[in-house]
């Protein structure tokens, strides 16, 4: 009986310690490395300004103002930067070489983008999926880097 009680205590403790499910989904996928002007990050329905060395999480949306620009380093060394009036959402990102799991889905909604391939583009170029307002970009070869521009009202 005593044992059961202590188990109960442990269970209650664990529930208290374990993060909420919504929080558990927050997966760090990269970091802000370069920054100019005003750049915002939308996360869980809240918008906050971005600062150098800030973490980027899966599902974040990043927007730059008219004088803004941001350079991001993802976990696999993919580098993505955007110029002014740009918007991207980091829909899905998995980089787990130990278990051979790779996925990247970004939605480049509008603006100017510089994309430099990292390890993901080397190990699993076909796992990279880039959505844009006018269509989809996919990689046909490893180490594919590109620049792209999409107008704000394009579709």
């Amino acid at each position: 009986m005593k044992k059961t009680a202590s188990h109960c205590c442990l269970a209650v403790l664990l529930i208290c310690i374990l993060p909420l499910p919504a929080f558990a989904e927050q997966k760090v996928i990269g970091k802000v490395k370069g920054l100019r002007g005003l750049v915002s990050i939308q996360r869980d329905g809240k918008t906050k300004p971005a600062f150098p060395n800030d973490r980027i999480y899966q599902s974040d949306t990043i927007l730059t103002g008219s004088d803004g620009a941001i350079g991001i380093l993802l976990e696999d060394n993919t580098l993505i930067s955007m110029g002014p009036i740009s918007r991207v959402s980091m829909d899905k990102y998995t980089f787990a070489p130990a278990t051979n799991e790779y996925a990247m889905r970004l939605n480049m909604q509008h603006g100017t983008f510089v994309y430099q391939s990292g390890l993901l583009g080397k190990l699993a170029p076909y796992a990279v999926e880039l959505n844009t307002p006018v269509g989809r970009i996919s990689m046909l070869k490893e180490d594919t880097s590109f620049k792209a521009k999409f107008a704000e009202n394009a579709q």
């Binding site: 490395k33 844009t132 006018v134 046909l140 620049k147």
Partner: protein, 199 residues
């Protein structure tokens, strides 16, 4: 003016108005000058891009992408200059080697320290991993301790007013993750190392 020329003129005005150059993709060469390959798919078709100096233009989702079309390099540079100005440098990794059964760097590796400091400074990096390893000689516990000592030694060398302890993370593997896989108890100099990853 006949019907045909009216249509051609209207099409030209329409294309100019829509700004077909508003949406485009261009490949970037890697350090060795080679480019990759990508595909653009819209509702109405797809195009493959494999060459440097050419772009695929896309009117909108409901039109086919253009075939690869030459694009002026200076113009491209101008369009992306703000993004390029904040584009991060690719992380750089350095490997420092140790003398046998010791936490003393080889002379060759001592000379690398300055290159690491330059890489940190260039990136204003606050995100440096110092990762210790050993070869497969000795007992496991000893190897783990030695790999930690090696990482700590490099950490102490790199640490200064500019590079603080908070900027660095120490990781140690013992004989795990060897650079050169060997059988147990093999003294492999290339596995006695500390990797410094500057992001």
């Amino acid at each position: 003016m006949n019907w045909k020329s009216v249509i051609v003129l209207a099409a030209a005005i329409l294309m100019a108005g829509c700004g077909t150059k508003e949406n485009f993709v261009v490949l970037s060469p890697t350090n060795d000058g080679s480019v990759g390959a990508l595909k653009v798919v819209t509702e109405k078709g797809s195009e493959v891009l494999t060459e440097d100096g050419k772009a695929i233009f896309i009117g909108d989702r409901n039109s086919a992408p253009s075939t690869p079309t030459p694009i002026n390099a200076a113009e491209t540079q101008l369009v992306f200059q703000d993004a390029l100005r904040v584009h991060p440098l690719m992380p750089e990794s350095f490997i420092l080697y140790f003398q046998f059964n010791s936490n003393e760097l080889t002379d060759e590796s001592k000379k690398q320290i300055n290159n690491i400091l330059v890489a940190i400074k260039k990136r204003q990096s606050r995100d440096i991993s110092v990762i210790g390893h050993t070869d497969r000689t000795g007992r496991d516990e000893y190897k783990r301790k030695l790999s930690l000592e090696r990482a700590q030694l490099v950490y102490n060398i790199l640490r200064s007013e500019e590079v603080t302890g908070e900027d660095m993370t120490i990781i140690y593997h013992g004989e795990g993750n060897p650079l050169i896989p060997t059988a147990d108890n093999i003294a492999e100099p290339r596995n006695r190392r500390v990797e410094v990853m500057v992001r």
